[in-house]
Symmetry: C2
Subunit: 349 residues, 2 copies
DNA sequence: ATGAAAGCGCTAACAC
DNA sequence: GTGTTAGCGCTTTCAT
């Protein structure tokens, strides 16, 4: 029974097809398909024969053919800024977990904050006919005409101009306010704010939180300094160093994102400035994944795990209910405010 | 000309097919295909008509159908232990870069060191007919019969028992030796070795390097202590704390992997032990991605970037030359020995 | 230079 | 219960 397929193809290189299995078992392809997909009944004798043939031929169903037929790939597209960004990988992990539960796989693309690459990623995923997309947009306006209209899309973490997608983002304004307030409570009246370019909504909102805090806490605006320090740690560290060198120490420093925070710490260490002794420090982001930094930092830590989980949940719901159309709808996740010892609080250990 | 496709399908939901384009442009599908793939000549008038139709219909070729026809998915499978492991993500990034250059996308699966999940990942990728696979194996023996025989596979970072694959791994023995030697040079004669379970070749080889060093440096074996501390930071930290509490301080500590190293640091900080004042510390791995830890750690840092690059290069070469068969062949990447201040060396800043 | 048609491997509707 | 067959969207060979 089996010889047919043996002579027909180089079976040790090309994997067996459903046809080979059917021939080997002496049944029709329909029967094999029914058995594999548990659709329809198959008698026990035949079931056994088919199962044997499958094992013997080491048959692996061709998911490409199945996808073509069913218009369903069981693939999720994930577009991120940088696949090696430690914060983002937490989100990738929670999305992957959700995907695995549903027997989905992930195609991951990164755009490195280049909007051309972003478009390309969307295009690739659309051509591959993924069942859904979760994307951290560059923030550039997305040319909607070129975007897949028939694939459910979730944007996460960053807002898109004129957004028309479901999105999950972190709360920023209040968290930012709280950090300033925390510095205030610890006696800081002259603050230095290290931030990045105010291009995306994240930096803008954190900035807004700062301004609100300055107003409501009655801080003297003249004494507060804003320093836009750059987008990579080395240059941020340099900018902070030279600022502190020329302008002297504030009472407190608040860095609005993980890179600014890391660069600030590097600068302080290099100048041998003690925290919190010489200056209090607070920031946004988690730059200590291994929990080995002392003093521990007071920081608003984004809950990327949760963002990914929510995005995946909603996406799967939309996929399963065939809600292909996109519409603006926003979900907000609150960062956790972690009180460390970097502002003078005592550790509770 | 265009109306046909408009009435034929819900074109705003289902994307246009090559047939729609052909109909709209009044040509045959073959011609459209030729144009898209730049195979064969198309006259200028027709080219223009077809291009117009493509734009008008916002046609995106269906990569699933193309893959089925060509037996080529332009997809690479990547199997890792943990998608959020910061070391591993560097490797993922370099592989993704290489893939993007070749217009390939990545399907990323993680197995969390569970060999069942590992098998499942291989199976999924095989069903999806990826063109190649790069995998960090669990280390468990792989059931070769169930493994794709027609897909080129690269294993990285960990060795598989009875390996029959191309693999790229880090050098361990000599690097481990060097770390012990470095501690020795800084005067340490009583050492504590914090390590993980000796299950995979990585820990085994690093262990071997230690034993070689003890022998060749003439360290008194009686004074050297090995502590297997666990596999997660919290429990490692606990184990180290309680060991130090009961047995007192050695002169130097060498942690053989990133988790052991992080756990050790946590334990030292929590007991208020100064490094390098009270004890010298060296280790394997990079636990300070943001460069903010003081003292800076003397450590052997794996070059995951390089491992990924090499693996991708070889894999693409095999894919392009249709070298589908796997065979045992090993490539070795040397970690970089980074001299920090944690053993008493002076920083050169 | 363009069209016609076979077929990639599979599923699902229908026939027996 | 099981077999037959059309067709998913595309590429490619062969006519013309």
């Amino acid at each position: 029974m089996l010889y047919k397929c043996f002579e027909k193809r180089e079976w040790w290189l090309i994997s067996a097809t459903i046809k080979d299995v059917a021939a080997a078992a002496g049944v029709s392809v329909g029967t094999v398909s029914k058995l594999i997909n548990k659709s329809g009944y198959v008698s026990d004798k035949i079931r056994e024969r088919v199962l044997l043939a499958i094992t013997l031929l080491n048959y692996q169903p061709n998911a490409v053919a199945r996808s073509l037929k069913q218009s369903k790939t069981h693939l999720l597209g994930l577009i991120v800024d940088d696949i090696s960004n430690p914060s983002i990988t937490k989100m990738m992990k929670s999305i992957e977990d959700a995907a695995r539960n549903k027997s989905y796989n992930l195609i991951i693309c990164s755009h490195n904050n280049d909007s051309d690459q972003e478009m390309k990623a969307f295009q690739w995923l659309q051509e591959k006919r993924v069942d859904g997309i979760i994307a951290i947009p560059t923030g550039a306006e997305l040319d909607e005409l070129q975007l897949p209209s028939s694939i459910p899309i979730m944007t996460v973490e960053r807002k898109v101009k004129y957004n028309r997608f479901y999105s999950v983002v972190h709360e920023n304004i209040h968290s930012s306010f709280s950090l300033v307030q925390h510095l205030y409570i610890h006696g800081c009246r002259r603050l230095l704010f290290i931030h990045g370019p105010l291009l995306d909504h994240v930096e803008q909102e954190r900035h807004q939180g700062i301004r609100q805090a300055i107003g409501q806490l009655g801080l003297d605006p003249e004494l507060q300094i804003f320093l836009e320090a750059g987008t990579d740690i080395a240059s941020i560290s340099g900018a902070v160093s030279s600022h502190l060198g020329s302008s002297g120490l504030p009472e407190g420093i608040y860095a609005t994102n993980r890179l600014s925070l890391a660069g600030t710490i590097q600068a302080l260490w290099s100048m041998d400035i003690k925290v919190p002794g010489d200056v209090a420090v607070a920031g946004f982001g988690d730059i200590d994944p291994y929990g080995i930094l002392r003093p521990t930092l007071t920081a608003a830590k984004e809950d990327f795990n949760e963002v990914g989980k929510i995005a995946a949940e909603i996406l799967f719901e939309r996929i399963e209910n065939k809600m292909r159309y996109n519409q603006p709808k926003e979900f907000i996740v609150a960062p956790r405010l972690f009180i460390g010892t970097s502002c003078g609080s005592h550790s509770h250990s």
